[in-house]
Amino acid sequence: MSHHYLFYPGCSMESSAKAYYDSLMAICGPLDLELEEINDWNCCGATEYVGISLVPAYALIGRNLALAEQQANGTRTVVAPCSACYLNLAKADHYMRERPVLGEKVNIALAAGGLHYDPGSLQIRHLLDVIINDVGLDKVRAQVVRPLKGLRVAPYLGCMVPRPDYEHRWSDAELPTELDRLLKALGAEVIDFPLKTECCGGHMTQIGPSTAFELIRRLIHDADLYKADLMATLCPMCQMNLDAYQGETNRHFHTNYHMPILFFTQLMGLAFGKEAKDLGIGAELVSARAALTRIGVEVPPQEEVKPAKPKRVKQTGLPMPRMPGSEEEEEA
């Protein structure tokens, strides 16, 4: 039986999280998932627009809901793979009902573009939710040809998928088990990760880096304590913060963590026997190559990005004598 949904990819899937998109497309076939992209969708506003102006922020999301409602043929479920997109779509639908005056105003704005949305007419769901609850773990298990045996994975969901969870779709708001169960179905060794829904820092990497670095450090440190080989995530923002900012976080705290961050869809693709290159593996800045050799996956070498030389910590304030050829010698 195939599962047909309307699909809202979100901006990141086209750029920073292309690996998420590619790996999702690679597993749609084996899972009989039909994802029909909403025509001409626009950005959801992330966590930024709503902090500037309320009605425009909800009208922006409303346009996507209205387009999806127009396009709905046979399905009224919209699937979003990104946490922020998922929450924004779900929240607009929820608040337009909870506060009818908001629904009215959004529709007045939408009318200026010839659109209308009836709140409650669509179901907004996250990708992991439909894979677990509609496709089902039996179907997932049946596709596994290369079990992720011996790979220790920290399941990391981040904040906005299990919370606030308006429709009560998740097993728990703080320690949900869906991702654990999926990864176990793939044969992975899943660690009982206590920080699985703690925050990755969100947009604080851009506006308050020290706040973000501390949140990133906690997650990486904890996964490292549990001897995870890698972390599996389901959100482009989480992946970006933990992967792309891991180097800066290391420099900030003088640590040396190396924790690869992959999308859960990439791990599904590997377990289904797909080639690493078709799953966007290698696009991560903290290379997963060493970790994946544990399950016999060869990742083609990529152009390595050299980390910036850490700033020399001046210990004395005076130049110290150096041995010729010593490693600490700095270029003149």
């Binding site: 922006l60 506006i207 800066e248």
Partner: protein
Amino acid sequence: MSASHLTPSYDPDNPNLRFLEEVSAATAGVSRLEMCIQCGTCGGSCPSAADMDHTPRLLFAMIRAGYREEALRSNTPWICVSCYHCVVRCPQEVHIADVMYTLKSMAIRAKLYRDSTAPDFSQTFVDNIENYGRSFEFGLATRHYLKHFPLRLPGMAPMGLGMLTKRRMDIRPRRIQNIDQLKAILARAKELEIAT
């Protein structure tokens, strides 16, 4: 110093005494801000509370007491990471994260923030959406870092380079087809308020 200068003198016409109602009405759903019982679960659940001027609980007490300017100047809403831990733990089911968004937009309107880094970031993000219909990470990051974190740029270079060489960042923005429709919707939306 007496404490009296901290207490707004009671004046039924003082608009600040209605500040709580104002914040609540300007929040997306039914905020339930009036229901706060000052238990402090929010601050205790907050991963970034250490960097906040006021915990959410204290901020809500200030709002209730009519400390408009102090509340809008607080960095708290800008440090909130929207993780919704407080929201799911709040025994009164206050929509705390959404109240934070309301306070940000009010602070921007009243020009009461101390540090323009966060408002500028949000505004640049929104400018891109209004022009293209999509977010534009490369344009956003370069404009933002040049203005607010020029000293971080050298440290950022390997990451930026990595994102570019691994084709994780578009140098040019993507535009939706019907951008005129979106612009018309947003222009109309900007004339509308939900608070009465």
